[in-house]
């Protein structure tokens, strides 16, 4: 984990969302890490030592299964969950997308280059059921790159005031509904393929 200063004209915490009609992503948005450590322990470190704020927590049988944290007002800048395979460290890196039309252009570009989405486009429903304005409700589309790393293309991430957070109990049976509120089409690979 690195903290860096001195990158040209950019400003910390400000995501560029201007696609200028192109298909390319506009910025790096967030990262979803995996590991063997307890998500609650990792989250405590991020909050107490580095000043992050808790956004969404999903528990299974009362135990933290996944945690989303923010350093800005945006829903999440980092997410952490326990890896299926102990050696895996990355679920995905997320790039910012401007809007729905941007997804159309990205989708066409994937087709033109012989690629396909793994999952989506869709909208996460990680928070309160049927709430599209709450935590964990950003839009998504995932595609693998040639190395086998998963890349997310995300948009419509909500903003929250300083102390807001949301914790919900869930179960693996609910994952398809949580991961996409628009359709029950989550592939098995989404929960099993990591890097």
């Amino acid at each position: 984990m690195e903290f860096a200063v001195g990158y040209g004209s950019r400003t910390a915490g400000i995501t560029n969302l201007k696609s200028d009609g192109t298909f390319r992503p506009t910025d790096i948005d967030h990262i979803n890490l995996l590991g063997e450590a307890d998500p609650q322990e990792v989250s405590d470190f991020m909050k107490m030592v580095l000043g992050f704020k808790q956004s969404l927590v999903l528990t299974i049988a009362g135990k933290w299964a996944a945690s989303w944290l923010r350093a800005t007002k945006l829903d999440h800048d980092i997410a952490y969950m326990q890896a299926v395979r102990p050696s895996d460290r990355l679920h995905h890196v997320a790039f910012a997308v401007q809007d729905g039309n941007h997804y159309f252009r990205l989708s066409d570009r994937l087709v033109e280059t012989g690629n396909r989405w793994e999952f989506g486009p869709g909208r996460h429903m990680g928070g309160k059921p049927r709430d599209t304005q709450g935590f964990g409700t950003n839009c998504f589309a995932y595609a693998f790159d040639p190395t086998g790393n998963r890349n997310e293309f995300t948009s419509d991430m909500n903003e929250f005031e300083d102390d807001e957070s949301y914790m919900a109990e869930t179960s693996p049976e609910k994952f398809p509904e949580i991961m996409n509120g628009w359709a029950y089409n989550m592939p098995e690979s989404f929960m099993t393929q990591e890097s």
């Binding site: 690195e2 200063v5 950019r10 400000i14 890196v93």
Partner: protein
């Protein structure tokens, strides 16, 4: 994305502008490191101080090129010199002191 620079060890890529968002390195899958942007060099010192207080090893480096493997949330600096960076890297598992 735009390839800003490339050599046999790594390629620097940008979503937009002339600053690297992603560094690809040879060696396979997963992530080597990622970076949070901070506004000022003083913020680096604050991070290092907090890490030290919690017994988390860290190193501070100055580089002529963007060192990040992945940066997010528009990471960067207001008072920046192009292609010059100061960064602190935390290593090892978190050791909390509550």
């Amino acid at each position: 994305m735009t390839i800003l620079d490339r050599n046999p060890e790594r390629a620097l890529l940008a979503c937009s502008g002339e600053d690297a968002d992603l560094t690809l390195v040879s060696g396979g899958q997963s992530v080597v490191s990622f970076a949070f942007g901070v506004d000022h060099a003083d913020d680096i010192e604050e991070v290092v101080s907090r890490l030290k207080a919690n017994s988390v090893p860290s190193t501070v480096t100055r580089s002529r090129i963007a060192p990040a493997t992945a940066r997010f949330s528009g990471s960067a600096c207001r008072a920046a010199t192009a292609w010059s960076s100061l960064s602190a890297t935390a290593a090892g598992p978190p050791a909390l002191r509550t």
